[in-house]
C-alpha cells in the first residue's frame, strides 16, 4: 500500500497568516481600485470630460493601492513596527518627498487647478509663450500640445497656470482685419461697396456685427484701407485664410492694380550745360 504524506497546507497558512492576509489585502485593494475606476468612468462618462475622468481615476487608483499597502504592512505584524510608527515614518517621508519634489507637486496642484478652472480643454488651440497648437492631453503634471507643424510640446502645468495664455478656441466670435492699399486715383466708395458685398456673401461672415471697410491712413503709394469682418470662433480660420484672397479678387474685378511704391525722378538738363 502506497501512502502519500501530503504537506499540511493549513499549518503553512497558520504559520504565515500575516503574509497571506497582507497579500490578500493588496490583491483586494487592486480589485477595488480597478472596480472603482470602471464605476467612476461609467458614472461620469457623459458629465465630465474624459481627461478629467482619467486623472480622477489615477488618483482613486493610487489612493486605494496606498491604503492597501498600509493595511498589508499592518497585517504583516512586523515586530517593533506599530501603526503610530508607520504614520510617523510616513509623515517624515512625505516631508522629504515634498521638499525633493517641490516642482512636481507644484505641477500636480496646477494640474488640478487647470482642471477645475478650465482655461482650455482638449481640442482647443492655445498660444503659450509662442508655442501655438492644439491641446491633446491635460495630465496631472503636464499638458501636451500638438503644434501646427505637427510636433508635440510638453508644457509643465505650473508654467501654464502661472503665465499668460491665449485660447483661440474659447471665443464666441472673432474679428479678422486685413489692410490693403489702393492707388489714389480709384473710387473708394466703389471699393468699399464691392468688398462689403463680397464679405457678406460668405456664409461664415456674420451679418451682425456687420463687415466694415474704411480708410486708415494716406501713405506714399496710395490709400491704406482696412477691411474688418466678424466670424464665429469655430469658423475663424475660414475667414482668416480667405479674406486676403476675397480682397485681392474683388480689387481685380474692379480693375484696381496693386499699388507699388512710386518714385518720379526728373532730370534737370540745364545743370549739364
Amino acid at each position: 500500500m502506497i501512502s502519500f504524506a501530503l504537506p499540511d497546507i493549513w499549518n503553512y497558512v497558520i504559520q504565515y497568516q500575516g503574509v497571506v492576509e497582507a497579500v490578500i489585502a493588496i490583491v483586494l485593494s487592486v480589485i477595488i481600485a480597478k472596480y472603482l475606476t470602471v464605476l467612476t468612468r461609467r458614472r461620469l462618462h457623459e458629465k465630465v470630460p474624459s481627461h478629467i475622468i482619467s486623472n480622477i481615476n489615477k488618483l482613486i487608483y493610487y489612493i486605494i493601492i496606498l491604503i492597501g499597502i498600509a493595511v498589508a504592512i499592518r497585517l504583516l505584524n512586523i515586530p517593533g513596527v506599530t501603526l503610530t510608527e508607520l504614520l510617523v515614518a510616513g509623515g517624515f517621508t512625505a516631508i522629504v518627498i515634498g521638499l525633493a519634489a517641490q516642482q512636481t507637486l507644484s505641477n500636480f496642484f496646477a494640474g488640478i487647478l487647470l482642471m477645475t478652472e478650465r482655461p482650455f480643454k482638449i481640442g482647443d488651440y492655445i498660444n503659450y509663450n509662442n508655442n501655438v497648437g492644439m491641446v491633446i492631453d491635460i495630465g496631472l503634471l503636464s499638458t501636451k500640445v500638438q503644434s501646427w507643424e505637427g510636433y508635440y510640446i510638453r508644457i509643465p502645468n505650473s508654467q501654464l497656470f502661472n503665465s499668460p495664455l491665449i485660447n483661440y478656441s474659447n471665443s464666441l466670435v472673432r474679428l479678422v482685419r486685413v489692410q490693403f492699399v489702393i492707388p489714389y486715383e480709384y473710387d473708394l466708395n466703389k471699393v468699399t461697396e464691392a468688398l462689403i458685398k463680397e464679405l457678406e456673401a460668405q456664409w461664415y461672415v456674420l451679418v451682425e456685427p456687420t463687415p466694415r471697410v474704411f480708410i486708415t491712413q494716406f501713405v506714399e503709394n496710395g490709400i491704406l484701407m482696412e477691411a474688418r469682418a466678424w466670424t464665429t470662433g469655430k469658423t475663424w480660420f475660414d475667414l482668416f485664410s480667405n479674406m486676403p484672397r476675397i480682397i485681392e479678387e474683388t480689387l481685380k474685378k474692379l480693375g484696381i492694380p496693386y499699388s507699388y511704391p512710386k518714385r518720379i525722378i526728373t532730370e534737370d538738363k540745364t545743370l549739364n550745360k
Partner: protein, 211 residues
C-alpha cells in the same frame, strides 16, 4: 425637384450617396426625407427671426403675426420609431449673426422675413408660424427679432403645407423679453413631423440684450 442624392442597394446594406459623401446603411433601416428647420450644429443651435420692419406694440397689448420660415430637406435613417439625421439638402443659404455681447451673447442663424397679419402664401419649402407678442413692459416697445432654440422647434403638416410651432414673445421690461415655444401647432388639425417631436424640456429663451 432634383435633390442630388442616390440610394444604391448592395448585398446586405444600402449606400446613400451625395457627391463625394457616401454612407452605408444596414438594410433593416429605411431612409426617409422630412422638412427641417436646419441650423449648422457646429456653429449654433439658435434660430433668429429678424423682421424687415420692427413691430411696435402698446402697453399691455397683444399682437399676432405670421412669418415664413425656410425649410431644407433632412435625410434621416429610421428603424420605424426613431430617426437619425444623416444629411441635409440645403435649399436656403445660411447666414449667422451675433445676439448680445461678444462675451455673453449667442450666435444664431439669421433669417430676415416680413411679418404678416394673415397667413401668407408659401412655397413647398416654407413653413408658416404664428408669433404672439405680448407687451408687459409698462411702455410702448418694439420687437425687431426673436431668437429660439431650434432643436425644440416642432414642425407640422396639413394638406401638403407645413406649419411651425406657435411662438410666444413676452416683453417683460425694456430690453428684456421671454421667447417660449408653445408646443402647439400654428393651426388646428395638423399632424406633427415625427422627426421634430421635442424630446427634452426647453424651448424657452431669455432675450436680455433687447428685442
Amino acid at each position: 425637384m432634383e435633390l442630388g442624392y442616390s440610394i444604391i442597394k448592395e448585398r446586405d446594406h444600402f449606400v446613400y450617396q451625395k457627391g463625394e459623401k457616401k454612407i452605408k446603411i444596414p438594410s433593416n433601416l429605411t431612409i426617409k426625407e422630412f422638412p427641417i428647420l436646419s441650423i449648422n450644429e457646429a456653429v449654433t443651435e439658435y434660430f433668429g427671426i429678424v423682421f424687415e420692419q420692427p413691430i411696435y406694440i402698446g402697453e399691455d397689448h397683444e399682437v399676432k403675426i405670421y412669418v415664413k420660415l425656410p425649410l431644407d430637406i433632412g435625410i434621416y435613417v429610421s428603424d420605424g420609431s426613431n430617426y437619425k439625421l444623416i444629411d441635409v439638402i440645403e435649399i436656403y443659404a445660411k447666414k449667422y449673426a451675433l445676439y448680445g455681447t461678444i462675451g455673453e451673447g449667442v450666435i444664431y442663424r439669421y433669417w430676415k422675413t416680413n411679418a404678416f397679419l394673415e397667413q401668407p402664401i408659401v412655397s413647398g419649402n416654407e413653413a408658416i408660424t404664428l408669433i404672439e407678442i405680448i407687451n408687459k413692459a409698462g411702455s410702448i416697445g418694439s420687437v425687431s427679432r426673436i431668437i429660439f432654440d431650434a432643436k425644440f422647434f416642432s414642425l407640422y403638416t396639413k394638406e401638403g403645407k407645413f406649419y411651425g410651432e406657435r411662438i410666444r414673445v413676452t416683453r417683460l421690461q425694456r430690453g428684456l423679453a421671454l421667447v417660449r415655444l408653445m408646443n402647439k401647432p400654428t393651426i388646428e388639425g395638423t399632424e406633427i413631423i415625427p422627426t421634430t417631436v421635442s424630446k427634452g424640456i426647453g424651448g424657452q429663451f431669455e432675450m436680455r440684450f433687447g428685442t
